[in-house]
């Protein structure tokens, strides 16, 4: 029972998250261009029956814009987390090849961990000229170190395992040992690592966009919505900030829960 319960919980949260994600993606077809449609007779309308979550300064429906923003964040987060995991895995694998390469990778990890994320993110996104691509690359190249450190330690420990030493003594190449013995052991770590990276990635994407270094203001990204909301907060238009912020929070918490359940189950 103690074995099955974490698995059941993980399967349950995986099911719920998958349903929400499918719903989010499907809603983009149903929405069409409604996140961009302006209604000048309903500017800054409060939440109500006609406008579920209210409208913004140009009379655009906030519920449509929040859904579109979350879907955009989801794709950016997915791609950035995937790229980050690939970088972490490749560097951890390179580190096992020789002591010198290991020292180099460790130095790189420590250097990146010692620089505040957001500053590095802004510099890279700015250097790449902003936009979706720049945000994905900036988030991917700044988020791999913590996972790379875990994978590197795991690989070092595995390399000392008797069955790995015996495999080498039985004449197997380093490449065979890497993909036959080491990498299959790391796949669960990578899966959980990518899922843990995902909420970080979308939070930083939103932060970057909020600060003006990320996605273009014409896109209905959560960061853009929150930055817009800032201008109207003093006017008492609370719904502009609360609903997109709540949506982001729910998505982040959902994925955090899923990853912690999966970590216990795998």
């Amino acid at each position: 029972m103690r074995q099955t319960q974490p698995r059941l919980r993980a399967a349950f949260s995986l099911g719920v998250t998958a349903l929400l994600v499918i719903g989010l993606i499907a809603s983009q077809w149903l929405l069409g261009d409604s996140p961009q449609q302006m209604q000048f007779n309903a500017r800054l309308a409060p939440p109500g029956v006609d406008h579920w979550l209210g409208t913004d300064a140009l009379g655009r429906e906030l519920w449509a814009r929040t859904l579109a923003g979350l879907a955009l964040s989801f794709w950016v987060g997915c791609l950035a987390a995937l790229l980050s995991t690939l970088i972490a895995l490749s560097l951890a694998a390179i580190a096992t090849l020789s002591a010198r390469l290991d020292a180099l990778v460790s130095l790189l990890i420590d250097t990146l961990l010692s620089v505040p994320h957001l500053i590095l993110l802004m510099l890279i996104a700015f250097a790449l000229g902003g936009g979706t691509q720049a945000v994905i690359i900036a988030v991917a190249v700044t988020h791999w170190p913590s996972l790379a450190r875990v994978l590197r330690a795991e690989l070092w420990q595995l390399r000392q395992a008797p069955y790995v030493r015996i495999s080498r003594a039985l004449g197997k190449s380093r490449w065979f040992v890497l993909h036959g013995h080491l990498l299959p052991h790391l796949i669960p770590h990578c899966l959980v690592g990518a899922l843990l990276l995902f909420p970080h990635a979308i939070l930083h994407e939103a932060a970057l966009t909020f600060l003006g270094f990320g996605l273009s203001p014409s896109q209905p990204a959560i960061g853009v919505l929150l930055a817009d909301a800032m201008r109207y907060l003093s006017g008492g238009y609370w719904w502009l900030g609360v609903f997109p912020g709540l949506g982001l929070l729910l998505m982040v918490l959902g994925f955090k829960r899923l990853s912690s359940h999966l970590r216990r189950a795998l």
């Binding site: 008797p162 069955y163 015996i166 003594a169 039985l170 004449g171 197997k172 299959p184 052991h185």
Partner: protein
């Protein structure tokens, strides 16, 4: 002929484990090695198989250093077979990692065909140990370092394992270093025996 020449080894410089240890293992010879816990028996075994590098001295096989790639002619067999196999591989894949033993060889070592599709967790320690020993007997192998391989087995399984190994070793003129605490076992298996204590080898 496998020769260790004046090996010295330590894990920390203040605590030397082996000092100027030399031994020779000829083809077809069964040599016993005993010693107290922590005397360095396993370390000496790993040095001979090239798993560890000595601080001074060297291990030579027919006048040359041990090869650095390919199937190692000196194979080390550890005490715990559970750690010696990849838990994600099935027994068939584990057994054929370096070579494919014949049906007769499998039968001699008591490796059942029904184990092939099972995972190592579903085999007992004794069954898994037989798989590990057979896996290490690739055609290129000429010497074995058997590090307490029968300690955890019941007497009948011990007997079967040693009989099978003895037959194979005689046929192929394998040199075997048997490391064990069990002096009765060493007396039975090995005409020559050495005792390791305080970093030195003495005849037993």
């Amino acid at each position: 002929m496998l020769k260790a020449r004046q090996l010295s080894f330590h894990f920390s410089p203040s605590l030397p484990l082996l000092q100027d240890v030399s031994l020779t293992l000829r083809a077809g010879q069964w040599l016993g090695l005993s010693g107290d816990s922590g005397a360095g028996k396993s370390t000496l075994g790993k040095l001979l198989a090239g798993y560890l590098a000595p601080q001074t001295g060297d291990v030579i096989l027919d006048g040359e250093a041990l090869p650095t790639c390919g199937v190692q002619p000196v194979q080390w067999l550890p005490q715990s077979p559970e750690l010696a196999v990849n838990p994600r591989w099935r027994v068939g894949k584990i057994l054929r990692e370096a070579w494919t033993p014949s049906d007769a060889q499998c039968q001699a070592f008591g490796v059942q065909p029904s184990w092939i599709s099972r995972f190592p967790q579903s085999l007992s320690g004794g069954e898994l140990q037989r798989v590990c020993v057979l896996r290490a007997l690739a055609p290129e192998v000429r010497f074995l370092v058997a590090d307490e391989i029968s300690t955890m087995l019941d007497p009948i399984t011990q007997l079967e394992l040693w009989q099978a190994l003895k037959r194979e070793a005689e046929q192929r003129q394998l040199g075997v270093l048997v490391i064990s605490h069990d002096s009765a076992l060493l007396e039975r298996l090995c005409p020559q025996r050495l005792h390791l204590s305080e970093g030195q080898l003495k005849p037993w």
